[in-house]
Subunit: 235 residues, 2 copies
């Protein structure tokens, strides 16, 4: 993964801040034992349910996600009938264009974000830019590795959001409708599987939503990490 | 700090892997509450004692340290009568030379590392290069933000090492004689203060060493972080 990010960085897709953010995630994943927990699976199933119930789902893609798992993004968009939009915190037209190209190379039909014509209220100009046909229009937005300000601003717009974020204490996790605390390249395939599994099964979709409580789930994730941290040196 | 590192990166001092490593450290510091704990102070005092007792102390400097606190490195070297050597995991002559220049700009008299003429046994060729007059010769090496392989190899050579590392579970922390679990730009001034304070006071030096037990200290640091992690979502 580090190599993919460093390569993405050399190709102008990933920003230096994205490398630092990846390091923060690495630490949390290390505390998780670099595995998908039972709690993450419950969150992923609820996320799939919210995605499938959505009328206007959109997947927001940033540089790190484009570097790490572009094919998974395209695959999930197909399964969930979701649109794809490039959404960047450190936005430049060049970077949006490069990320679009990566997604097209991996089979995307339509990638929004290049000529933004709408704004997410409450964010500094460049950080709030988005597409009328994409994030602005969406009822549900999947926000993998999203910045806290953007995540909170989307929630304030009344949108349901699905976060993929290794930090159970982050504002992104805590502002989202469903927070999947898992590493992105594991979380995407899991979310694809769950979306395929729940497809057209209204009963199972209802159960997946009912089984999930965000704050309880985040608390359990934090406790797993805390246990690993405090137990490590006792072994 | 992020800005200093990104600037160091643009100047060819910091490598992409250094940015990722910084992110990992950020997370641990976040779990510490971004402050120097009582336990870190005890470790810092013991570290100062070990430095002052050393006959041949050397400070190893990498890209992140040169970007973050070059003046502190020079200041500590003066106080502890230590030599300075550039020690890199991802070594290129160009980067060594640039880091030397930064240290000279901040007042260093002599910076070793550019024409390595010795090797740390047990490391891959480029990673083991060092100076006969510096790290190879040293009895005590200060290794802020050091890679685990290098830290272990130095310990195997019989050298005492003083780590500055935010991860209490890292191989660097656990292989060192004294492990200061603190953020580098806070740890350096603290170490300078303690070195000034203990200077020429053999009794206080002895007490500082006696008061410190590495494994107990690391365990306490991990527990502080674990408590913050598990308590966060209960508030």
């Amino acid at each position: 993964m580090r190599e993919k990010l460093v390569e993405g960085f050399r190709n102008g897709i990933v920003v230096p801040q994205g490398l630092i953010a990846h390091g923060r995630g690495e630490m949390f994943d290390y505390l998780l034992g670099e595995r998908t927990t039972k709690e993450s699976r419950i969150a992923s199933r609820a996320a799939a349910a919210v995605l499938l119930r959505a009328k206007k789902p959109v997947i927001s893609v940033n540089g790190n996600i484009a570097a790490l798992c572009p094919r998974d993004v395209v695959h999930l968009a197909e399964v969930a009938h979701a649109r794809i939009e490039v959404g960047l915190f450190h936005r430049t037209d060049e970077r949006v264009s490069k990320i679009q190209d990566v997604l097209y190379e991996h089979g995307a039909k339509d990638v929004l974000g290049f000529l933004p014509d709408a704004k997410i209220p409450g964010l500094e100009h460049m950080r709030g830019l988005c597409s009328k046909r994409g994030i602005y229009w969406a009822d549900v937005v999947l926000i993998p590795l999203e910045d806290g300000d953007r995540a909170e601003a989307l929630a304030k717009m009344g949108k349901k959001t699905i976060a993929i974020d290794l930090n159970p204490m982050s504002r992104t996790s805590r502002a989202s409708t469903v927070a999947i605390v898992d590493e992105a390249t594991r979380a995407f395939p899991e979310l694809i599987r769950n979306s395929e599994d729940l497809q057209d099964d209204a009963k199972a979709i209802g159960e997946a939503v009912k089984k999930y409580d965000r704050d309880t789930n985040l608390r359990l994730m934090a406790k797993i990490m805390a246990k690993n941290l405090s137990g490590f040196l006792d072994r």
